[in-house]
């Protein structure tokens, strides 16, 4: 009997979401309820299972980083994952060029689990089928001179319980389970906020780019106008000066 991991419904918050859509529910509540059920059997084997389940349950790793990817560069990140862990990789390009990047996720044996070229944002969920080091890489090798800023969020397993040394054998009270569901909802709010912030950063960087471009363009064009018009007049004058000398020479 393998430990039942928590239900994990994930919707991509980057897509337009309707109020009725499922949002991320990582609830310790379901796990605790299961706990109180198996307690009834009370055997050594069950204790071992509880032990292993708790060990797996507190194996938590979630990293969220924003880094700069120079042109023609590739940046790889690695993580050791246990078999059976549900993991999610989400990434978004914040600034730079056409806001796209190549992403590739490989398992310990080198099999490509996910590969996309020139993507602006995406979310990929998978369950680790093997033990070992998983590797994911972001590549900007197709770009010649634009630096890109990439944000990624790699969630492995679930969040740690509030009490690391907790010995949970009783079910949660109603207050506690209400707290847990509020906590999950707030986590999803923070997640949406992060995505909104990234979108806004993207929009703002485009607007600032546009602003500087307009400034340079207007100054540049004014200078070009002046230079061209003055050189036109000078060139025209030089035509007539030469012709006068040639006509006098022809005449004589």
């Amino acid at each position: 009997m393998s430990p039942v991991m928590n239900c994990h419904y994930t919707s991509n918050p980057l897509k337009e979401s309707h109020p009725g859509e499922r949002f991320k529910v990582r609830s310790g509540f379901y796990f605790e309820a299961w706990f109180s059920d198996i307690r009834m059997y009370g055997s050594f084997r069950v204790l071992l299972q509880v032990l292993s389940a708790q060990l797996l349950c507190v194996w938590v790793l979630g990293s969220e980083l924003t880094f700069e990817l120079p042109d023609n560069a590739k940046q790889c990140f690695y993580e050791d994952i246990i078999i059976g862990t549900k993991c999610t990789l989400e990434f978004q390009v914040v600034t730079g060029g056409h806001y796209d990047v190549d992403c590739r996720l490989e398992d310990p044996e080198g099999t490509t689990l996910y590969k996309e070229m020139k993507k602006q944002y995406d979310s990929f969920t998978f369950t680790a089928a093997k033990n070992g080091t998983y590797k994911f890489c972001f590549s900007n090798e197709f770009s010649t001179f634009t630096h890109k800023t990439v944000y990624f969020d790699f969630q492995v397993g679930d969040d740690p319980p509030l009490f690391p040394n907790e010995n949970r054998v009783t079910a949660l009270t109603q207050m506690e389970s209400a707290c847990v569901s509020i906590h999950e909802a707030l986590k999803s709010v923070i997640d949406y906020q992060t995505h909104f912030r990234l979108r806004e950063a993207q929009g703002r960087s485009r607007a600032e780019d546009l602003n500087t471009r307009v400034a340079f363009w207007s100054i540049g064009e004014a200078i070009i106008l002046l230079v061209v018009s003055i050189s036109q007049v000078v060139l025209l004058r030089s035509f007539f000066s030469d012709r006068k000398t040639t006509t006098t020479r022809v005449g004589s």
């Binding site: 790699f154 009490f163 707290c179 607007a207 007539f240």
Partner: protein, 221 residues
């Protein structure tokens, strides 16, 4: 009795796991500088933990780096002012609190100057950056303030809502900046088109007058 023994074993294994498994890692070259950006509201605490490993050619695996090899951590605030610039050992933990909202840059590079240490290989850096509410150590808070589990959960909720509120404030400030940038672009485009039309007309008039006087001087008109 067996149950207690199992619990102790579990605690020990968990501690080992927390030490050994230290999250995401990446490779960094000897003189390479890796920078990470954190866009955060003000009065937010950030805790960064890192651990380095060096490739041992004899044993052909990554082992914890020697004490002499450290990492230089530099943190810059949105105004490009350095708020943290310190050297730590092969394993370190840095903390800072933001005083201005915006993009903070956390840069890491190794302090190695001896080529033999790296021997052409790469340094493996395990990095974990916790922002705001995630930086709190709830076990510590519970022990210090002697909170029950329910009180601790409510405290966590309060911290989370605090973080959401700060982020919303920061969003308002960012939106204002965005709006200012857009309005400035709008103004610039307007002024540029007016000024350019005036320049064109003025240059046209000047050109005609100048050429006319030139031809009159040359007795061609």
């Amino acid at each position: 009795m067996v149950y207690v023994a199992l619990l102790c074993l579990r605690r020990r294994i968990l501690n080992v796991f927390y030490d050994v498994v230290s999250s995401l890692y990446f490779h960094i070259g000897e003189t390479e500088k890796k920078c990470f950006i954190e866009e955060i509201p003000d009065e937010t605490m950030i805790i960064g933990n890192y651990r380095t490993q060096l490739y041992d050619k004899q044993r052909e695996e990554y082992l914890p780096a020697t004490q002499g090899l450290g990492m230089f951590v530099e943190v810059k605030d949105p105004d490009d002012k350095v708020i943290l610039s310190r050297q730590y050992g092969s394993e370190g933990r840095f903390t800072f609190t933001s005083h201005t909202p915006g993009e903070h840059q956390i840069c890491l590079h190794s302090n190695s100057s001896k080529f033999s240490l790296f021997a052409g290989g790469m340094l493996r850096v395990h990095l974990d950056i916790q922002v705001g509410e995630h930086a709190n150590n709830y076990a510590e808070i519970a022990a210090k303030d002697k909170l029950t589990e329910l009180q601790l959960r409510v405290r966590q909720l309060v911290e989370q809502v605090d973080q959401i509120q700060k982020e919303q404030n920061y969003q308002r400030y960012r939106e204002e900046r965005f709006r200012q940038t857009s309005e400035s672009t709008n103004q610039r485009v307007l002024w540029w088109s007016i000024v350019q039309t005036l320049i064109l007309v003025a240059i046209g008039i000047w050109q005609m007058r100048h050429l006319k006087s030139f031809f009159e001087a040359k007795k061609l008109v």
